[in-house]
Every structure is written in C-alpha cells, then in structure tokens.
Symmetry: C2
Subunit: 428 residues, 2 copies
C-alpha cells in the first residue's frame, strides 16, 4: 500500500528532555501532519539529545536516505548547550556569520521583555545571548522569530538536502511554520510533492478486527485498492480509518468508503473529518447541558468546556464522588443507593435527573462506575459503568457497560461513551 | 555535559499512525526512561511507518552508530502489513521458523477470546494469523505475549546488535518489558552499562532563566559540574531539573543541589521524585476535599480523582460554568457577581466557601477566570484567574494571577496553581 509521492522529508527533534521522556514530543507529529497535508511524504522522525555528534548522525542518516528536506526542532536557545544552528551549518559546509539585522531584532524583543520584568537589558550576558542567536549560516534564509530564536532555512548542498531549522517550543514552531514553508529553498525542495487527499472515517462500536475483515474484502473487490494508503487505529475508544490517496485513486477510495459505510453504517459517525466533540458542540447549540459525574470525576465537564464558546451551552456539572454528594447535591435518594448500589442504572438515572433540575439544564449526562483497580465484584467487575441521559420533559435513558483496561482507560473510555450518548440523544 | 556511559541503545518505533501524527508515541519515551534507569544511554529514538525499507534503514542507522541494543515497538499484529519480525530477521541474517509451542500458546489465547465473543476460533483465517505471529527468527529468545503477539530477542551478529522486538500497544509492551530485559542476550548487550543515579528537583515559581543563571554559577563554582547530565524543563507550569550522574559524581551533584535549594528554596517543593499530586494526596489523608470550578471546568476534580484510592478524601465538586450554577448550587450571591464580576477574588472566595458547605468538606479549592480566547478586557485580560481556598472554621484565602498562553495553557496552568495552593494550605 504505497502512494507515488516524489518529495520526501525527514524530521529531527532535538532535546535531551524529549529523548529521556521528561516531556513528550509534540513537534514531530505536528510537522509530519503539515508535510503530509502538503503532499510531502515523511520517511522518518528521529529524536536525539543535545549532543552535536548525535545530531550530526541523525542529519547524515536522513541525507543518506535521500530526503529532499530535513526539518529540525529545538536547540535554538541562548545557552551554550543549544547547538543546532552551529551543527547544521557545519553539516551543510557553511560558515556562521553574525546577521546584524537579526541581532537588532532580537535585541528589541529581549529589551521589551526585560523592561517588563524590571531586569537590565544591557547586561553583557544578555548581549552575548542575543549575538549567539543571531549567528546565521551563510546563504541561509532567516525566519523571523516568534519568541527570541529566529529559524533558518539552509540551501541544499552536494550531499545535503535543504535543512529547515525551527525552535523547540511548539507555539513558536507553529507560528513560524507558514513563513518557513514558503521560503524559496523549501518550495524548490518539495516541488515534486504529489497532490493527495486525506479522508477520515470515524466509527464508534465497530471492532478493529471487523474493519480489518471488511478491508480484506475490499482488497479483493476494489480495483486500485493498493493505490490507497489506509491506516486504522483505535483511539479513545473510537475506531479511526485514515486514507491518503492521489487524485487518480479517488474512485477506488469511494468504493472502499462505500463498502465500509455499507457494512458498518450504524457505527459510522463521521466521514467529513468532524470529531464527536465538534458534533456535540454543534448539536448543543441552543441547548443547556449539565453533567453528573462519579467515576469520570469531572472529565466530561472538562471535555465539554475545552472548547472556546462552550459557555453558551454548558451550565455546569456536579462531581458526586462521595455518596453524600449524590444525595445532597443531586437529590439521589439514599434508599436507592442502599438498594441498588451507587453503581447502578437507577442511580445513574437519578444523577442525570438531579443535574438537569439543579443546574437548570435541558439535557444532562451522568456516569457512575468502578474505574478500579479496587472495588470490583463478581456482579459488578472493575470497568462496570452506568450512564444516564436525562432530557427536559422526557424520560431518562440509561446504559450499563463493562469497559476494558486500567483505571485511566476506563475513565477515558467512559467519557467517550458519554459524548456519543449525548450525540445520539441530541441527533434524535 | 556528558556522563561516561558504556552501553548505548537505540529505539525504533514503527507505525504509520504514529509517523503521521494520528496517535502520539508513548513507547519511545517509556522505553527510554526504563533504559536510562538501568544505566543504559539512549542515543536515538526513530519513528518510521509500516514500510520494510524504512524500518531496515532505521535499523541500519542505529547499528552503524554502534549501539549495543536496539528496541523496536510495533508491527507484530496478525495482518500482512505487520512486518517487523520478518524485517528484523532479514536484517539480522536469520531465517524465520515456526515455533510450534508459541503457536499453541497463541491459539489458546485466541480460542478463549473467540469463545467469549461467540466467534469461531477454528476459521482458517484465524489459524493463518496465529501461524504468522508464531514465526520466530532462528536462535531468538521468545518473550511470552501479554496480548497475542509474542516478542523476540535476536542475538547480535557481525554487523548487528542485539535487537529486542516488542509489540506496539503500550500496555502489552510494558507488561513484557521485565521478561525482555533479563533475557541472556540483553543482559550481555548492556553489560557495560554504568550504574547511574537520577535525581529530580521540582520548583514552582522559579523562572527557567533564573535557574539557568544559578547553573552557570554552579558551573564556575562546583568541581565536577561537567560530569553531571542536567536537563531543565518547564512542564505544566512547574520547573523540573533532572540530573543523571555516575556514583563518583555524587558530591558534585550534592553541591549543585545545595546551591539550587539555597537560591530557590522557597519554590522547591520536591527533591525526592514526588509530584505535587503525590504530596497533595498524602496531605489529604484524613481530610475531605471539594472543588468549585469555573474556567477549569472539572479538570481539578478530574486530576484529584485520577488516583486510585482518592474516594477516601474526595467528596466531589461543582463545575459552576454558568453564573446561575454559581448562585444556585454554590450560594454565591448574585449581587456579588453583579458588583465584582464572576472573575473576581470575592466570587472565588464565595465559590470555595459554597463548595465546602454544600459538599461537607473541610477544605475546598475554587477557580474562576478568563481562559480565552474571548472575554478579556483591559482590567481583566485573557489569562486572569482567581483562586480561593476555604478551610472549615478558617478564613478563605484568595489569589489573583494572570497566566500566559492559550485557552488550553491557561486551564492547565490554573489546575497546577490550584494543586500548589492546596499543597501549601495543607502543609501549613
């Protein structure tokens, strides 16, 4: 399954804190997605620490793999162990020279920051740091900084591809990306890129093995199946099928997508790239939603309020972790808890109804379950979660499931289920 | 700054869904941390898609860098595009042969799963999948599967290091790790590892540049500073300084740590590896905590209940997103909101007091703020967040801050601040 792509790139993420797992890399996947969207194939992402030898080795590896473009992130700071520009310059056989215009620009930024903090912007140590960040490989294009560190694009050499050097902080890198990608050298490097389309189908309730079976059938039935690059993955309880293909393969994709929808239509909830969060947000327009959470402990409310503008429809919620919170704040009868247990469809229904009423909402969702590791029984094993959806003037709908995985998995999966219950209730 | 480490490893993460940013890699950082803890230096993490050529290139790169051990993750599934074992076998110059004992073991697992799902375990397609997963490079050690995919450890060859092949699902990989790392071949490969210690200092309130200045002074003052491998990073609003060093450098580390604590003692909250979550959980023992959240929308409650056993001290919380939730569920006077605005220390105090009383807690924390992107004003710019801590029988303490970053940053940083306010209140 490969697409004819004729521009290839490699990504080098630097930073000992990334290599050692202290922080997780956000730049590699982000840059990869951007390049793919441009029709540039990404061959490798490599991560190395702040050691020039290892960085040099990673650059050599990618150059030897004949990529057309290398994108690096990190190592552009003012301190001595930030060595990416110097190492890339040496790798590309170019001198470093002071770019006085860039120096002045950084000095301005540092000065305004220093004054805000009440610090002295004219210290020699500050000047030295500014000067270091203004050293540019000869012939390179400078990308204006989003923080204090400018990026550079170094032209291709005899044995080296174009190298785009960007800073490590994801926000700075992302802000500088649009200017970087239109630099003449970069445009030339990725000239061979293939226009391609990426389509995503999202399912909730189909197993990965069932989809695999459908795709095996598609492989046998659909002409041009092998020109599609299909990846499937299970993410937060949803099954995602992403397909990348060249324009000439559009019919093949259509045939495969039709087969998937035909077989698994009841579980397919998105074919246009929208997420369940997007759909729920849209469906909630004009509504007032409330949450009543036990095992998810606030995660549903946190997810709903993650979006800018959610204050238009989120009234709020109650995290009724202790049983007294269920009775006192959500009006769940203590006798009901005593009879059915806190993890029961009855209590889930009462929690949702309580949230609806207490928070003046017209739709409310509830969870009560055993996230583990303790607290399970034969009748209610770890992973047992009950859900409720209450509507103003309507009945309360409940659901009881046993979700797989550890405590974090059960909680996260419960949030996904709750989002889909909201989606189904709201879409009628 | 380098430590004399004489066993080096490389990690190869495979999977198109990781390379393309569909899912984020959890295995590279995890394996890296494990290896570092064993005293094995990690040179590179590389990520490639499900293409044999790219996997082969990554293996060749690491072998040419003279690593002693390569760990791969992913590509062990039953489907045709899972090619890691076959590619590694070829790379190491070994034949694949069917291991009938492994085949029987996988068949047992698949059979019990199939029966649970009501599927037929004797289909030829199931048998073929089982057989594929039981193909083992000659001379390799088999690591028993945690799912259905066994791992293998392939011995070193003339130009190839020991290669440990593990599955992609993080839970499976992590469960199989202890057995993998004691395989004879692996023990021999990392025999040169250097015993080393990793120490972590966590600060809340010191800027990274201030710590950098302290470390520059330490470099000048402390003998043996250059034998310490120090990384600093800002994570979720906390500043983390991680130092790895060999036994002979313990005195140098002690001197640096003393200097850091001397300079930044008021902000240092952990020198023993404990997190603020650990500390708050311990301090909450015997207490009853409640939350009242507006801009954080449930994230504090979610974080507190993230831990197993938190039901012993978490009563619950209220997400009072809409003003009516603040007045109706938390008893914040409507007149107070009208006079001071929902984002004010007054309202934060009333919210905390309301949660304390409504949820029968003895300590409560509240947040109300402007996470953005809209809603800011000159007087209360985006990022303005007010916090309250209420204690049973005590005064309510409030704090007003302006936090940097976008909506997600402001929310996450607010949760960190709330955790530290709880810590400080509880530790007196």
């Amino acid at each position: 399954m490969s697409v004819d792509v004729s521009a290839r790139a490699g990504i080098v993420v630097t930073g000992t804190e990334v290599l050692t797992g202290q922080i997780s890399d956000r730049n590699g996947p982000w840059v990869s997605t951007q390049l793919l969207d441009l029709g540039v194939d990404v061959a490798h992402i490599t991560v190395c620490g702040d050691r020039p030898d290892d960085l040099r080795a990673a650059l050599r590896f990618l150059a030897d793999e004949h990529v057309d473009l290398i994108v690096t992130s990190g190592g552009l700071g003012p301190t001595a162990d930030d060595l990416t520009v110097a190492t890339v310059a040496e790798f590309c056989g170019r001198e470093l020279t002071l770019d006085t215009a860039v120096e002045a620009q950084i000095a301005d930024i540092v000065r305004s920051w220093s004054l805000k903090r009440g610090a002295d912007p004219d210290l020699e140590s500050v000047r030295a740091a500014t000067r270091k960040q203004a050293m540019v490989p000869t012939g390179a294009t400078v990308i204006a900084p989003a923080g204090t560190a400018p990026g550079v694009v170094v032209p291709a050499g005899d044995r080296t591809p174009v190298v785009m050097v960007l800073p490590g902080p994801p926000r700075e890198l992302q802000q500088m990306w649009p200017a970087s990608i239109v630099a003449d050298n970069v445009v030339a490097a990725i000239a061979g890129r293939t226009e391609s389309t990426t389509e995503t189908i999202l399912m909730f309730g189909t197993a990965e093995s069932e989809l695999a079976e459908t795709l095996r059938d598609a492989e046998a039935e659909v002409d041009g199946f092998d020109t599609l690059e299909i990846t499937t993955c299970l993410r937060r309880g949803e099954l995602e099928m992403v397909t990348r293909f060249a324009p000439h393969a559009a019919d093949a994709y259509r045939a495969v997508a039709d087969l998937v929808v035909h077989r698994h239509g009841a579980t397919v909830f998105s074919t246009d790239g929208s997420t369940v969060d997007d759909q729920v947000a849209e469906l909630l327009s004009g509504h007032r939603v409330a949450t009543a959470e036990s095992c998810t402990g606030g995660m549903i409310a946190a997810r709903l309020t993650d979006r800018a503008g959610s204050s238009a429809y989120v009234m709020g919620g109650v995290v009724s972790y202790d049983n007294s919170a269920k009775t006192d704040v959500l009006d769940v009868p203590a006798a009901m808890i005593a009879e059915h247990g806190a993890v029961s469809e009855e209590v889930a229904a009462a929690m949702a109804a309580g949230a609806l009423s207490r928070l003046g909402a017209d739709i409310a969702v509830s969870t009560t379950g055993i996230a583990g590791p303790g607290g399970g029984s034969d009748e209610k094993p770890v992973g047992t979660v009950c859900f409720g959806i209450a509507r103003a003037g309507g009945e309360v709908v409940t659901r009881r499931l046993v979700l797989p995985g550890d405590r974090a998995d059960v909680r996260e999966r419960s949030v996904t289920v709750a989002m889909h219950l909201l989606r189904r209730a709201l879409s009628g």
